[in-house]
Symmetry: C2
Subunit: 415 residues, 2 copies
């Protein structure tokens, strides 16, 4: 992408109506636009990052045999009444609306009910199970407060996976596969080292625990007690001697940390499937309950978490897998020869399918350096007539010093 074609601009002034550091930085860098508290639009660079995070999550979901669907946002009342989750007194963060004929509708805040309902007719026999489906889709929650930028949105992008298994053993086996997939996702997103599986409340449908993935952060709303050596934590909500014993954690080895929940996994038992009438017939002709799990990852929240964690006074610092471009290319001077050399490298990188931003704007080079830093592009590459034919001056966003390297080494650096 050539920057002369990009309409968004960086801004030196901090947005006055934004208290969250992640949103401030993303607005200053032109990645997002604030529509209202907790509601953001994604501008071209922000959309690229969001898509890259989604694609990493999608690939891991596909690898564990889950099929992608797209459920509707508009929700009819009746299926939610069957599980007693329609009433605002039961679920207090629904957005509701009405059809012109007065019929009530909900604006999807989660999708257990419609997913189960969509399986009716397809699942009859034990041969039809297991089923694993997921979607990456906007969710809507009528939050009272939404002051954390992308960390707590009223509208946000989420991956939600649902599993349907024959019995508890099969469910547990898939549940463990999902946990492994989640570890891989956080690893690829660059937050693997700071993200911990955390025991949490199992919810009203389970006597056991649920699992959260918590990323350490000073702005986190959660408090977790972390056993760093064994890479396992427990949420403060369920922190008590009895639970520590159950899980096998020792109080002496735990330290408290603020953290942000970046994923969760729930065993739901048969509550939803039973209430919505989804059963299977076993090989003896007996009607049996289906064991369900649900597994969430907040895609837009992850973008916020990463913006929050990986930044400094100069701006954002994207992990290379999700950066809007891997390389920020600058020609050191406006003379024709240097510009032609820069264009040539731009063409080479583009040909190799390497995402590159070419700052071809007619502005001072200092401004270009500042923008490369604020946008958080992992590698800054500068073309000058001083260097050799196939040479370029490279500085990583996380380092202080520049190195002269060959084009081929630049390509190897980002591949």
């Amino acid at each position: 992408m050539k920057l002369s074609k990009l309409y968004t601009k960086t801004s030196k002034s901090i947005p006055s109506d934004e208290s969250a550091n992640n949103a401030r930085l993303l607005i200053q860098a032109g990645f997002i636009h604030k529509e209202m508290a907790g509601v953001y639009s994604y501008l071209p660079l922000g959309k690229i990052v969001l898509d890259k995070i989604s694609e990493i999550v999608r690939q891991e979901m596909n690898k564990i045999g889950a099929l992608e669907v797209q459920m509707s946002v508009l929700q009819p009342r009746d299926i939610w009444e069957k599980t007693d989750r329609w009433d605002d007194k039961k679920v207090d963060n629904w957005f509701k609306t009405k059809l012109n004929n007065g019929q009530d509708l909900g604006i999807g805040l989660t999708h257990e009910e419609p997913i189960v309902d969509s399986l009716i007719g397809f699942i009859n026999s034990y041969k039809d199970l297991p089923v694993y489906v997921y979607q990456i889709q906007n969710k809507f929650r009528n939050e009272l407060r939404a002051k954390s930028g992308l960390l707590r949105g009223r509208e946000f992008l989420m991956k939600d996976l649902y599993s349907f298994s024959l019995n508890k053993e099969d469910h547990q086996q898939y549940y463990d596969e999902v946990l492994l997939a989640y570890y891989k996702i956080y690893e690829k997103l660059g937050i693997g080292d700071d993200t911990y599986r955390t025991y949490a409340d199992g919810g009203i449908f389970s006597s056991s625990f649920s699992d959260e993935f918590q990323t350490l952060s000073e702005v986190g709303e959660d408090l977790i007690y972390l056993d760093k050596k064994n890479k396992i934590a427990i949420n403060k909500e369920i922190y008590n001697p009895e639970n520590l014993k159950k899980i096998g954690l020792k109080e002496s080895e735990l330290e408290p940390h603020k953290a942000i929940e970046v994923g969760n996994t729930f065993s739901l038992g048969s509550k939803y499937t039973d209430q919505l009438g989804l059963y299977y017939t076993d090989n003896n002709g007996q009607k049996k309950s289906i064991v369900m799990g649900c597994y969430g990852i907040g895609i837009s929240r992850l973008m916020g978490v990463i913006a929050e964690k990986f930044s400094d006074d100069l701006g954002l610092i994207w992990p290379i897998n999700i950066a809007p471009a891997k390389i920020y290319l600058i020609s050191v001077s406006q003379d024709q020869k240097t510009q032609a050399k820069t264009q040539k490298l731009y063409d080479l990188l583009t040909q190799k399918c390497i995402d590159v931003i070419y700052d071809d704007r007619d502005i001072r080079i200092g401004e270009k350096f500042a923008d490369a830093d604020l946008l958080g592009i992992p590698i800054r590459a500068i073309i000058s007539s001083k260097h050799g034919e196939q040479e370029v001056a490279v500085k990583q966003r996380t380092e202080k010093t520049e190195k002269i390297i060959k084009y081929i080494d630049l390509i190897n650096l980002v591949k």
Copy 2:
């Protein structure tokens, strides 16, 4: 994809609550699930088709220099009041909802206002124009009636492109580029021959016409008068001697056709940009109005149109570019040798990145043939021990007869 891994199933019975042929077929084939009238979810095969249509549209938008964004669904009241499009008396198909604090919100039915608003701060000088942005996103319209399946949804997937130009000449030039991109899109989707540029009402912001792209169909809600020789049409809404003369159409060369609108392009002048306060300064320092255009394509509607047009008594007939798979692979017998040969071809095709459905289910071959037809996969490929080592029996969905061809010819057929 192996069919044993797909949980959806085809159904022989026609859904009783569905009057539209497109939705009936798509439900029977397991592509979509009806949530309520005008609201559908996309099951795995339907999601693939929707994604393929989106990708064709996306590529053509990128080619004409448009940048992808993602605007929010939730809409604050104030920006829509500036253009007098908030009040239900002015725009009668809004879905509305409220924040917990009582503040009114709209559920996005179009995005002119927020797109213009998001450009404020980025566009100041003539050097900042033109800007072309698009998104592919769910839209919501509170339709009184929604009985046409995917052809008229209350929730539907749409591509909406917006252009911002310095003056009318620049606007017109880009407008014409968009028209050419639209032709290419319909061509790639397999409906190029039946889709016509159609003069239509310019709307309240224009003294000239707008353009629609209309696909001929007996179930279309529009009536157009078509000059087949010159491949141009006029919508009945503006069909009168004066307009015919303006456009240069002759009544004697026009024939009436029912048609479905699959795209539209509007010149909006400066109405929205002026009302929302988006201007630019020209090279003389003068404040100037920006000329805006908007350009829609209904992605999910296109899926409905194509299902409606390309089908027969046996089921769907997808154009090869958007079929959920190009090849439907069947082993003629369950003996180990034939199955191993089929698996080998499956691996070969997958390796070549050719989408293939392998019907590995333990059911009668007649049922597999019926499903291949109902799902509408362009090519049915049958492996039998009767044929040579690298040979396969191939039948196209649109043909009656089977041919024995080499693997390499099968690959060339779909590439």
